[in-house]
């Protein structure tokens, strides 16, 4: 193929000519055999500039173009588009940065000029080895995969599902509802009743655009926004194990939380005394309307212990103070003479009506005792004696029943899913959001979002908000009919040189490389590869190369740059 290279030196207004002798550059470059034409232009990224470039390509029948201007991050795409519009393959284009890398940092004009010339020569020699890569268009998949059938997952599914957008809702246990479904009532002062959760579950079940798989887990998943592939494995108790492969456009992680194992701190005496129960067990008691001691009698005094596991985990679980108030109100409302004490480290009452809820509890006679930690609990006759410390002063109290509120911890599946999707976890093991302030439901993996307690302790309204946020992100980016162009500058493995050692696989962040056991080689999935090049660097034999960054291309640049 005849190679007609056009080189255009942009002045970028006054920016570049102040420090670089543009005419000298044009002169030097024009003496190169490989160059068909070299011209200068005042501002190439302007509309006139782009028009000029397009005309030049057509007039001079250029096959390759080099533009010496600003940073590729600024205008590489701009000029590539022009090339494409002019009928040239946009990948036979190279931008050379003579602004940031020459004009803006070298005070001496002669030095800056000679460096600019060197760089442009390097760019020209590089572009000679470019391949005319072809873009492919993929129609995006606008469906969503929601992992976790608790209230957050259900809400996300409901807000997303529609006739043009299916939702796959995958739940590990055999029923929907998660932790919220186990509550006796959602805080009455927040205006909701438990039946709201049950209603949501029914809505999800009746929605024909939501495909629910219970007793199921996601076994494999890879891809990116608009283009995910996943394998869902179902193991129903009375039924056959089956695997389902689905294609989807986005993933929402709503895997919720587990509770701190009270056995980890023997001071709480959990499981040592049958009248010491966890908050969840107490919810159960309320649900079945049977608040009784193990001896069948009704308790005359109840101690509610806050903050179990807070010191161990290093964070406040946010919701326990409120539900302990709920317990206190319930006890006082249903057992008028009952003595209720609450042992707390700090009180967390951030919402609009929380303060008055607390004041009301006090009015009902609930006693609030501040403590640093529970030292130990032991049986004292029929009662439980709690020894606690506050500011080095130890004190004791006795109660018939003790309810301990455990911290919220990441659910057991979090780390496994994080590995599957290459997602970071924070110090406490919760999923880490992309940016705590500016992007709180996104992850570094485009197309994967998180909502609810999978991100950290929060209450139901907050979970609903986050679920709406994830839906919002998906609704605005996965528009039916839109097409995506996956990365063109991907990696490629030469089969005859690959020995299947899978070193590249182990360093691929995107799961874009898989091993073919039949051929004994690794294979790059070009639809998922992002062209980061980690694999290229990791292969000792050079069997894998990057399509737009081949050794030859890079070496040509370096050779000139070092001359």
């Amino acid at each position: 193929m005849n190679k007609n290279i056009g080189v255009y030196v942009c002045e970028c207004g006054p920016n570049i000519p102040e420090r670089i002798d543009i005419d000298k550059v044009v002169n030097e470059i024009s003496s190169m055999d490989e160059v068909k034409t070299v011209k200068k232009y005042s501002l190439m990224c302007s509309n006139d500039g782009k028009k000029f470039l397009k005309q030049e390509i057509e007039k001079e029948e250029l096959t390759h173009v080099v533009v010496a201007a600003c940073s590729p991050k600024d205008h590489e795409n701009t000029f590539m588009k022009v090339c494409e519009e002019a009928g040239m393959n946009p990948y036979l284009f190279q931008i050379v940065n003579i602004r940031e890398q020459c004009a803006w940092m070298i005070p001496d004009k002669e030095e800056a000029t000679s460096k600019a010339i060197q760089y442009i020569q390097a760019g020209i020699h590089r572009v000679l080895f470019h391949e005319p890569l072809e873009k492919k268009e993929l129609e995006i998949n606008v469906d969503a995969l929601v992992i976790g059938g608790g209230i957050s997952g259900i809400e996300a599914s409901l807000s997303l599902a529609g006739p043009k957008r299916k939702v796959h809702l995958v739940e590990k246990t055999d029923s929907l509802g998660g932790m919220a479904g186990k509550l006796s009532q959602i805080l009455p002062h927040q205006g909701s009743k438990i039946k709201s959760v049950k209603e949501k579950i029914e809505q999800a079940k009746n929605n024909e655009n939501i495909n629910i798989s219970t007793s199921s887990e996601v076994k494999e998943i890879r891809g990116f926004l608009g283009n995910f592939e996943a394998v869902i494995k179902s193991t129903p108790e009375n039924g056959e194990e089956k695997e389902q492969e689905i294609k989807t456009g986005a993933v929402i992680l709503a895997t919720g939380f587990d509770l701190f194992d009270l056995k980890e701190n023997p001071a709480y005496g959990y499981e040592k005394n049958e009248n010491i129960v966890s908050a969840l067990e107490f919810e159960d008691m309320i649900n079945s309307e049977k608040i009784v001691l193990k001896n069948g009698k009704k308790p005359k005094s109840v101690a509610l212990i806050h903050c179990a596991g807070r010191k161990e985990k290093g964070y406040c679980s946010k919701v326990c103070c409120l539900y302990n108030l709920k317990f206190a109100h319930y006890l006082k409302d249903n057992f008028p003479d009952i003595d209720v004490k609450e042992l707390y480290m700090d009180l967390c009452l951030p919402h609009k009506q929380d303060q008055s809820y607390f004041d009301q509890a006090k009015e009902k006679g609930v006693e609030f005792i501040r403590m640093d930690e529970v030292v130990k609990t032991k049986s004292s006759g029929d009662q439980v004696e709690i020894e606690y410390k506050d500011n080095d002063k130890t004190d004791k109290l006795k109660a018939d029943m003790v309810v301990v509120a455990p911290a919220m911890v990441p659910s057991k599946d979090t780390s496994h899913l994080a590995e599957l999707l290459n997602l970071p976890l924070d110090k406490s093991g919760f999923f880490k959001e992309l940016h705590e302030m500016l992007d709180p439901v996104a992850t570094p993996m485009e197309g994967v979002y998180i909502t609810g307690c999978a991100l950290g302790p929060k209450n139901i309204p907050e979970s609903m908000t986050q679920s709406h946020a994830t839906s919002g992100k998906i609704l605005s980016s996965l528009i039916p009919g839109r097409k995506i162009v996956p990365e063109v500058k991907v990696s490629k493995i030469k089969e005859e040189l690959c020995t299947g050692c899978q070193t590249c696989l182990s360093v691929c962040f995107y799961g874009a490389i898989s091993y073919d056991p039949f051929k004994g080689v690794s294979v790059v999935n070009e639809a998922i590869c992002r062209g980061c090049g980690n694999c290229v660097g990791s292969c000792p034999s050079g069997a894998i190369h990057s399509k737009h960054f081949t050794y030859t291309q890079l070496y040509q640049e370096v050779l000139d740059a070092l001359r």
Binding site: G520, S538, P540, G542, L559
Partner: protein, 395 residues
């Protein structure tokens, strides 16, 4: 780790001692004959002398009559066992039960290759053996009868003789019972007529039981003989490392050792770890136009041919030295007697220490370059925060 390798390591306190009047070779071969006959293995990979020649090779045998040419500890290590094992076991699933009897460095090389998916250990039982070393391949090929005799003498006495390969003189991993590399170990240290079978993994234990060799004998005597020799060999190795560090730390020390190199790549081809189909340094990636070569020549006044000789060594080192098992196959293969095995072994030793990694010792331990640890090399990544940590550790 793939291949479902979840062998549990057992701490060998007991073994099975077998005394043979016919000698150690016969005793060992009998064990394998029995195992083949009892269908415990379908085939055995063992060193063998090629009939009508003085040459040694490996044979994968199924027919008992072929044991005639077998020799568990030949005077040379012609082809590194890890390489031999990989040559037939990497392209698909084996449907045969195979036992491979190899020297400890060969076992460790096989484990490294397993981690690199070049050996499928699914149906392979690795059997290691106490190794007295081997003689240099060139010396042996120049006078096979003489070297065979010399070897017989020094190996019976477990002498760390200068007639052994430098790699063997400096080797302290001659008896593999630590780690999860081998399934079974054949102990020879001690009286010349005793062979002690020591189970290392549960698979090894199973095999002994199937053979009717319950491991009920004490290992005290063997362990104490091993300790004695180990002490001597550790001292040797430390001396060798120190000597070579000094040699290389001199100006151009590394390059001086490679002055004679003709870039034949025999070292790479003999190396069990070098598994690439085509070495990067043989690829077209590093071929350039004549003017580029002339330019390079003008920069220093001369350009050595063959090209990229030093690059090849440094590159190969950076690619494989973390898995180097110091077997010395490279040095045996070098036509111009460059001490390449000693060079790589010393550098390997030092770099492996940095990663706290012993190649081939444990099957489950991931390769350092494929294992990401969040906190690693703080001296390089966060030197300011690390200063305190380093001084603490130094204390």
């Amino acid at each position: 780790m793939n291949n479902n390798q979840k062998e549990t390591k057992i701490n060998p306190e007991k073994g099975k001692a077998l005394s043979s009047s016919k000698g150690i070779r016969e005793e060992i071969l009998n064990i394998f004959k029995k195992a083949l006959a009892d269908d415990i293995f379908d085939a055995v990979m063992i060193p063998a002398k090629v009939p009508n020649t003085d040459a040694y090779s490996w044979i994968l045998l199924q027919d008992e009559s072929l044991f005639e040419m077998a020799d568990p500890l030949p005077p040379v290590m012609a082809v590194q066992g890890g390489r031999a094992l990989s040559s037939f076991s990497k392209n698909g699933e084996l449907d045969l039960k195979i036992a491979a009897l190899m020297r400890p460095c060969e076992i460790r090389a096989a484990v490294e290759l397993f981690k690199l998916h070049q050996i499928n250990l699914n149906h392979i039982t690795l059997i290691s053996i106490d190794c007295p070393g081997a003689t240099p391949l060139t010396d042996y090929m120049n006078d096979p009868k003489k070297l065979a005799e010399t070897y017989k003498k020094i190996s019976e006495k477990w002498e760390v003789s200068e007639s052994l390969r430098p790699a063997c003189q400096n080797c302290h991993r001659f008896s593999l019972i630590d780690g999860t590399a081998a399934d079974l170990h054949i102990g020879l240290l001690g009286k010349n007529d005793k062979v002690t079978l020591i189970p290392i993994s549960s698979k090894g234990n199973e095999i002994l039981e199937k053979l009717g060799y319950e491991p009920t004998d004490s290992l005290e005597e063997w362990k104490s003989n091993r300790e004695k020799l180990l002490k001597e060999k550790i001292k040797n190795r430390e001396k060798f490392i120190k000597e070579w560090q000094e040699k290389i730390n001199k100006t151009d020390g590394f390059f001086n050792e490679l002055n004679k190199c003709i870039n034949c790549h025999n070292c790479m081809n003999a190396c069990p770890i070098c598994y690439c189909q085509q070495c990067y340094f043989d690829s077209q990636n590093i071929t350039f136009k004549p003017e580029t070569y002339l330019q390079k020549s003008k920069e220093k006044g001369a350009l050595r041919f063959p090209l990229n000789t030093m690059l090849f060594h440094i590159g190969r080192m950076s690619h494989m030295v973390l898995s180097c098992v110091s077997c010395g196959a490279c040095e045996d293969a070098c036509p111009v007697s460059i001490p390449v095995g000693r060079l790589f072994s010393m550098v390997g030793d030092q770099t492996q220490k940095e990663f706290d990694y012993i190649p081939g010792m444990n099957r489950e331990e991931p390769l350092p370059l494929q294992d990401f640890k969040e906190e690693e090399f703080c001296e390089v990544e966060t030197p300011n925060e690390c200063e305190e940590k380093v001084t603490e550790e130094a204390k």
